[in-house]
């Protein structure tokens, strides 16, 4: 068409393009959002094939005024909701400070989850405390909701003398077996089939614990995702596979991951796995779908794929500048709002929360982070000279240090 020199009947290569680039007006008109409360809730025993149309809907509970509507409304106490809200506030305050700390040169790298806080936090609250999580790098909310010490997160970020990971990992690549939080990998999607294996092992052992795992929209393109889906479906592994569709990989929009043609929830249909597609900024909806999937898994009915539809509010990481590839106000225009404000409005509308309480909680969160920050920085921030004893570098490669590592350790001196 646009190239007059083309032969008749010639093929053309299609390259997906996002609706808006810097300078353009944000445009979300491509998406349709079913009304809150409009999606029916199937029995956990419903067959996957019967559930395939869920891939094309969007489960929503909260409307934009804070009302909870429809069959997916979970039974969760205001007490619990307030807890969730506080975790979200804490996560956001933590992100803000640590992002800044990186800017101040206190560490090498940071990644926020701005706008996605509801996902990890509501899901963690919907899971049992001993269910095992295999996160990507944007689920710090899990640790916060499981009340892992904030200061240890900071120690890790600063690779300081009290870093539980001994300075070995890039900031935010936390690990805590105690909190059921699997060591984060820098390699996208590798954790997903590992989670399936863990879940298979739990089933093999007639345990009661299930696994949950998270990956981004962009990461679904990796072969690991396919392996995970295949094995989970074949062995009916008790696992929840969460695709956090925040619409962006680094600079590439979800169309480059296949989002132009169908939803990410639809991937599940291909494997005969139930797909749930949920408003990721709706705390109640996320909580509800997770409960449903967890119950299903625990009843030996197998895995569920959940697509959380959301928007990445911040830069990909501190190494990124999103204003170079998308309109700067795109996030603010996201029709499904901010998960914190939406849960706040819901609690307020229930009469269980007030603007004043919210402000106070926000300040408390900031103050907690600030105080913790001071504590962590007292121990140390990232420096050229590592605080870890040099010999430690050679530990944990194997259970015991083999001769060649011992020799390299000796060569290095101390």
């Amino acid at each position: 068409m646009d190239d007059m020199s083309r032969k008749p009947n010639a093929l053309e290569l299609h390259i997906p393009k996002p609706r808006a680039r810097p300078g353009d007006k944000p445009d979300f008109s491509g998406w349709s959002f079913p009304e809150p409360g409009a999606t029916p809730k199937p029995d956990i025993e419903e067959s996957a094939v019967e559930m395939r149309e869920y891939a094309y809907g969007l489960i929503r509970v909260l409307d934009m005024d804070g009302n909870a509507l429809g069959p997916w409304t979970p039974s969760i106490s205001p007490e619990e909701l307030r807890r969730g809200l506080k975790y979200m506030l804490l996560t956001r305050a933590f992100d803000e400070r640590m992002h800044r700390a990186q800017r101040q040169g206190k560490t090498s790298f940071y990644m926020q989850c701005l706008g996605e806080e509801a996902i990890a936090i509501a899901q963690t609250m919907a899971l049992n405390g001993d269910d095992m999580c295999f996160p990507s790098y944007r689920q710090q909310g899990i640790l916060i909701a499981r009340e892992y010490p904030l200061v240890d997160m900071m120690h890790q970020i600063y690779s300081n003398a009290q870093d539980p990971l001994k300075g070995r990992q890039l900031p935010i690549m936390y690990s805590s077996k105690k909190e059921g939080f699997f060591t984060i990998s820098g390699n996208l999607a590798t954790q997903v089939p590992q989670a399936v294996g863990w879940a298979m092992a739990s089933a093999y052992s007639n345990d009661g614990r299930i696994a949950a795992t998270w990956l981004g929209d962009g990461s679904t393109a990796e072969g690991d995702f396919h392996a995970a889906m295949t094995f989970a479906a074949v062995y009916k592994a008790p696992v929840i596979i969460n695709v956090v569709n925040n619409q962006w990989a680094i600079s590439s929009f979800q169309g480059i991951a296949g989002g132009e043609n169908t939803t990410f929830a639809a991937r599940a249909v291909g494997y005969g796995m139930p797909p749930l597609r949920v408003d990721g900024n709706d705390f109640l909806a996320v909580y509800a779908v997770t409960k449903w999937a967890a119950e299903r898994a625990r009843a030996n009915l197998g895995p569920t794929l959940i697509e959380h539809f959301t928007y990445r509010g911040g830069p990909h990481s501190t190494s990124d500048d999103p204003s170079r590839y998308r309109p700067s106000d795109e996030g603010r225009c996201w029709p499904l709002g901010d998960p914190i404000e939406r849960l706040r409005d819901h609690l307020v509308s229930l009469g269980e929360w007030s603007e004043e309480q919210h402000r106070q909680a926000q300040e408390e969160a900031i103050e907690t982070v600030r105080a913790t920050g001071r504590e962590a920085e007292k121990v140390g921030v990232l420096k050229a000279d590592a605080p870890q004893p040099r010999a430690e570098m050679f530990e944990d490669v194997y259970k015991d240090v083999p001769w060649h590592l011992a020799r390299q350790r000796d060569e290095m001196g101390s």
Binding site: R168, S185, N187, G197, A201, T230, V397, K399
Partner: protein, 354 residues
């Protein structure tokens, strides 16, 4: 050689009845022994379940232990490796089979970036006690996708151990050690000698394992420690370092040429038994390294570097490498490609005459 030589270093528990086994039977017996002893041991892979594996290493295990402990996997080496990692993280001791080493690569990322580093990156919090078995090597007319020897792609990866047995006796004892090891172990099985100790002369009668002393294998539990090499033949003239099939080919070469070679079977490539190597080369002053993998960046390069680093002042001749050529493994020219005794003899002579 004496049966004793072929069985150095084994740790034995209790009294074991001995039986004559091929390498396949010995591997099967190792799995059986461990599944019997430890409910956390399970095994899976392509065609591993009902069928018992294309080489029959897992035969009867599904019947004996049930489909949950020995089962078929989808054709995804990535999924097999990754789910095994997840199981190991849970606390099981999975033993997975990759049908041919040539097919490991789709799961290579999970080995290099994951299995090998989970202990390190979690500062010891999570560990991966898994074993990845895979038949490797040529000489079976398998062409380029059933003949590869990719061991050096594993030895380069810190955090992995790499083990290669050369006899039924070793195979069982090493596999048991691998399964009980708390780190991920790559267990490579020289498929050319699954059924008999091939000496590299394709045109001669192949003798079965039953004629070999190291086919006497205890029925029950015993271990051969990882990291310990075996001097399968003592000698004074030169040192040959080999592993897997090539141990037998090297022996045949020495016998054929009447050279008083000391032949070291590495058994474990990483961590390597440097002491045994150094002792031998310091004694002989000459060294020939033999493997079937392509030469460039093969494990022979590392061995050569180690030998010259440790024994520089004892070396009386250049270290020789006899290896597969730097080409894909051809189908028709299998015997031109394979490092046969004549090639090894030539290299030994060069080493002796330098």
């Amino acid at each position: 050689m004496s049966p004793g030589t072929w069985r150095g270093n084994a740790t034995r528990w209790g009294r074991n009845h001995m039986a004559q086994m091929t390498m396949i039977q010995a591997l099967n017996s190792a799995l059986d022994t461990m599944m019997e002893r430890d409910p956390n041991v399970l095994t899976f892979g392509e065609d591993v379940g009902y069928f018992g594996g294309v080489f029959k290493v897992t035969e009867h295990l599904q019947q004996k232990y049930g489909a949950k402990r020995c089962f078929d996997a989808p054709i995804s080496e990535n999924g097999i490796t990754a789910t095994a990692i997840g199981m190991a993280v849970y606390g099981l001791r999975p033993v997975v089979e990759i049908q041919f080493a040539d097919y490991m690569y789709p799961g290579y990322d999970q080995l290099v970036n994951e299995a090998s580093r989970i202990r390190y990156r979690s500062a010891g919090d999570f560990t991966v006690p898994m074993t990845v078995r895979m038949p490797y090597g040529g000489g079976i007319r398998g062409g380029q996708t059933h003949s590869q020897s990719p061991e050096s792609l594993f030895t380069h990866v810190a955090g992995l151990k790499t083990v290669i047995p050369s006899t039924p006796y070793d195979a069982k004892g090493l596999l048991i050690s691998a399964i009980e090891d708390d780190d991920p172990v790559i267990f490579m099985e020289p498929k050319r000698i699954y059924n008999g100790p091939f000496d590299g002369f394709h045109d001669r009668q192949v003798s079965p394992w039953s004629k070999h002393p190291a086919s006497e294998v205890p029925d029950g539990y015993y271990k051969i420690p990882l990291g310990k090499a075996n001097v399968v033949k003592e000698g004074e003239a030169l040192t040959v370092i080999a592993y897997g099939t090539m141990v037998h080919v090297a022996l045949a070469a020495a016998t054929e040429a009447g050279i008083d070679a000391e032949i070291i079977d590495l058994r474990t490539l990483v961590p390597i038994d440097i002491e045994t190597i150094v002792n031998s080369v310091e004694k002989t002053g000459r060294c020939v390294i033999v493997h079937e993998a392509t030469r460039t960046s093969g494990f022979g390069g590392e061995l050569s570097a180690l030998v010259q680093e440790h024994c520089f002042y004892h070396l009386e001749a250049p270290i020789e490498r006899v290896t597969g050529y730097d080409t894909p493994y051809p189908h028709s020219q299998e015997w031109e490609y394979f490092p046969t005794p004549p090639r090894i003899i030539k290299a030994m002579r060069r080493a002796l005459e330098s």
